[in-house]
Every structure is written in structure tokens, then in C-alpha cells.
Symmetry: C2
Subunit: 338 residues, 2 copies
Amino acid sequence: MKIVVDCMGTDYGPKEIVLGAVDAVKKYGCEVVLVGEEKTLTDLVKQYGYASNEKVTIKNATQVIEMHEHPALAFRQKKDASIVVASKMLKAGEVDALVSSGSTGAAVASALFGVGRIKGVDKPVIALPMPSVKGHVALLDAGGVVDAKPENFVQAAIMGSIYADKILKLHNPKVGLLNIGEEETKGNEQAKAAHALLKNEKNINFIGNIEGRDINHDVADVVVCDGFVGNVVLKFGEGLAKAIFQLIKESIEKAGFLAKIGAYLMKPALAGLKKHVDPNEAGGCLLLGIKAPFVICHGNSKAKAITNAIGTTIEFVKEDVVNIIQEKIAESNKGNEE
Amino acid sequence: MKIVVDCMGTDYGPKEIVLGAVDAVKKYGCEVVLVGEEKTLTDLVKQYGYASNEKVTIKNATQVIEMHEHPALAFRQKKDASIVVASKMLKAGEVDALVSSGSTGAAVASALFGVGRIKGVDKPVIALPMPSVKGHVALLDAGGVVDAKPENFVQAAIMGSIYADKILKLHNPKVGLLNIGEEETKGNEQAKAAHALLKNEKNINFIGNIEGRDINHDVADVVVCDGFVGNVVLKFGEGLAKAIFQLIKESIEKAGFLAKIGAYLMKPALAGLKKHVDPNEAGGCLLLGIKAPFVICHGNSKAKAITNAIGTTIEFVKEDVVNIIQEKIAESNKGNEE
């Protein structure tokens, strides 16, 4: 299996990406194509003890799409941007999948215009594995489609169910619509219209509305919402977890010697929890509804995050998620026409 | 100062409400009027060592609006519901303020139809004090207005700034629009339109867009958003904090003896943090834009939450928040007409 990795445009520079990719080759035995500034990447690969060989190849790209640029515009103008070059390789079938940790907007634009949507999919959505009390739940859309139409919620639910089943291994996953009350009459106009469609969709296991407090408590396996709401939830969750751990740390620092001893003794017990909520462990977000496996990582991904994302990407390919989505979406669209 | 307290329709029954109200009388020296089923309330007041006297009076109300009822409909049909009776007393000027912990929908309907909006206010909003790293920030709207118009964001920002200044004591508060990117071109149609109006509003200190991750980190003192998003954020925050503390507890239980000792030693250091994030400490949400002080508590409020909410209500009255809102909204509306 060959995976193309966009190495440019991330917060920590190509260093972490290259290290993560090289580690993935060692761990999973896959092949990677690193895209970006050739000299930099060659030096980094050497530094990490790999000569450019059949497992690790480098593809030169002289431009980068930065976080602040208009994604669609930049995609058209920067023909030699790393994400554009990587997308073209995916489209041409030279690789099996793509991993990016640059600008999310640029990645989505490159997926849409460079690779293309699966037939029958209106808008691709971003599926996020969110830590829950028992394991992980799928949150989508985490920022792909804002001002989503009710139909987009249904497609997100179908694609999210396949993601939960095949990648998170949550079989016959329960789908909940994120809303502000349990009753189907609750919510904004968008949520009420989405509820009406979800209720009648045969390709999902819809359990009705869920509320914000249910997200991390495994009430649903797939949490469906508008991309605006999902993106706020994703970032608020990161910020709140950080705030809580920061406040715990400050409380201990302010407290006496005994509390510090206590914290020291507790540390090993909390290592597993820290790992469970660490976004670097989660393995990236899947962009669902695109004709080939496309994975988006956080802009601040460390090497471990890239290695894990490549692990998820391998599952994405092996489980044939793209073809299953195509079948299920076709089935759903056919059902709606009848 | 006399405060009417709706004692019915809460998760734990009138017991916690009456206890909280009686404690507030002892703590703040205010007067309370308890509204609800007379016999029950009389017995509870006696049980807590108070005869019905000039400080604690009881007003009979034979009906209750339940959580699942349609708020506006129930307000019209249940003339003797406790929240309806309490609202009428507030409207008539028999009391200075109202505290409710029943159905939020019923409270908002009673405020709107029973008390009325401040002249020039389009929709009342719910202001929530959200724990942050340094103290508290104001989040609004926490569920009052869904499908908010851009003008509602501006009024929420003005009212929220007064709330932050007078109640949270955050002077010249920074107002941030909750969005999915920092640039003003980011977001859904609603957020983009709101941004354009907020930028030109003279009665607030607008700092631009903020993201979900900024909410608890004091980037803004007033976080403005649609009521749907605010309600999701409020409940997700509660659920996530609960999940984190539950996972910490489970990790310690699973771990060995040393970790348990560690947790025991750390407990006193974390007491302050626990208090800081406890919704019972926060003192309720203010319903802003109503002609008289109106405070809404969580349906699962314990006695302490009610006592604290009455404390906030006293500030609400003393700081003359209602009149300041009326002046500032008139000023803003006049500015828009010119």
C-alpha cells in the first residue's frame, strides 16, 4: 500500500511529518511518498536513517498553501503546492490514499477539485473520532459543510455510520442528531428539518436527538451536526480539556508538599487517561464522500499523530470504505426517488 | 428587597428550592416569596425552622408547567401555574425580581408574555457565567434565541457587556463572536452577517471572532453566539467536564494502592477547582432584555445553587441592570437609525 503524505504548511514544519511517516513505514510496512520541498525532505529522511528507497520516496513541490489563504483560489493558482501535487497523484491512482496536516480548507478544496466527490454525494464531511467515556464516538461534520442542508445531515449520518462500523469498530452504530432538546419539535429550523429526514432514512440506526451533554457519554456512536456546530464542539472540547488539566496543575502547584507527593503517586494511573484524550493518538479525521481515501490531521500534529493517522488511513483503504459509501449513498438516493 | 421564587417543576422537587431560599434569607437578609403548592411549602418552611413571617411568605399556586410541555401554550392554559403566578407578581411590582428553576422554556415564555420585553429589545437572551482559566466569562445566548438574526447578536453583545461589567465585574469587557476561524470572512452566513454588524457597533468593545478553543481561556469576556450553538456548548461543557472527572476516578480505582494514596493527598488541593467548575456555585443565568430582573437556574439545582442564584439576583437589582440595558439598547437603536 502506498500513501502520499503532504509534508508542508503545518505548525511544526516538515520535520514532525517526515518523522511520523518514516515511523509508519517501520510500524506498518507501507510505502510513503513525501511531498514538499525536495532538498528539505531528502535531508530529513537521511537524518531519520532512511535513504530514499522503494519504501520512502520524495516528490518535489515548490509551493505551499498557507492557513490564511482562500482555499479554492489558492488551489487554482498554486499548481505546484504540495497538497495540489499530492491530490493529483491520488486522482491518477499513483497512490492508494492521502494524508494532509496543512490547512484544512486547502485539503478540502484539493479533495473536491483535485480528486472529486463520490457520485451522489452532495458535500464531503469531516469525521472526527472524539474520546468518550467508553472509547470513541464519531462526530461529523467537524467543519466540512457549514449552512448544511437537511440532506447533508442524512448523507453525513450514512457516511458516519460506515466510518463508525469500519474504522471505530462500533457495529450497527447508533446515530444521534445533536440538538438542544430530546423532543423532535426542539431545535432550530435546520435541526428540525434534518430530524424529519433522518427518521425516515433506512440505511442508518437513528435514535433521535441527543444533547451536548451526551456527546462524550456514548449515548450515540455517531453524532451528526452542522459543520459550524461540529467545529465549535471539536475546538471547545480541546480548549476545555486543556483548561481543566491546566487548573489541576495550578491547584497542585499552589498547594503544599503533600499534594505534590499525591500528584506524583497518581501520575502512572493517569497516563492511560492522558493517552486516551490526546488528539495525537486519535489518528486524524477522515474526509468522507471523496472518490479516494483522504485523511486530514490537525495543523499542530506531532510525529506520533502522523504515524497514527497513517495507521487509520491503512484501515480506510483495507476496509474499502470509499466503495461502501458509494453503494450506500446510491441506495439512499434511490430510496428517496421512489 | 423582595424576591419571588418559583418552587415547582424542578428535578429534585420543592425541597431543595425552599432550603436554598431560606438560606438566602439568612445570608443576605432579603425577603422571599415562595410560590407553589401551599401546604407542601408551609411544611418545608417549618421544617427548616422558619415560621411564615415577614421575611418568608408563601403564595399558593395549584399548577405546574412540566419540562415536556409547550411553553407558550402552557403559559396561556395554566393560569395558576407557579411560574405564571410568580411572573404576575413581578409584573405588578409586588416583588423586585424572580428566580425560577423549572422548565427554561416555561420561564422564558412567562418572562416574555407575563412580564414583557424592554422597549427596543427584539429577543431576550440567556447569559451564562462559564468557568474559565482565570474566573468566569459570559456566554450568550445560552438557549434563548435559536435562528438568531444578525441584529440579535448585536443586542446580545450589548446586554452581555453590561452583564459582564455589572455582575461578573469584568470592566470594559472584550466581546468575541464565536466562529470557526479568526478571519471575518470565515463562518456560516449568520456569523458573517453578525460580524459585519458587531464591527460597527459603538456600544461594545468588539475584538472580532474567537474559536471554540478560546472560550475557557479568557480571550474574550463576553462570548456571543446563536442560542442553538450556545446551548450545545453549555451542555457539552458540563458533559465533558463530568466525563474527564469520571475517567480520572476510574483510572485511580483501577490503579494500585499508591495511586489511591496519591488521590487522597491531592484532594484538598482540588477542592477549590471543584468549587470553581461546580454549576451550583455559579448562581444561575440571567434572562436579559426583560422589563424586570429574571433569573433562570438549572432544573437540577441543589439548595446551594438557589442560594447563590438569589445572591446574583440581588446584584442584578442593585446594579440597576434592567435600566442600563434599556438606555444602551435605545442608544444603539438610535445610532442605527441615523
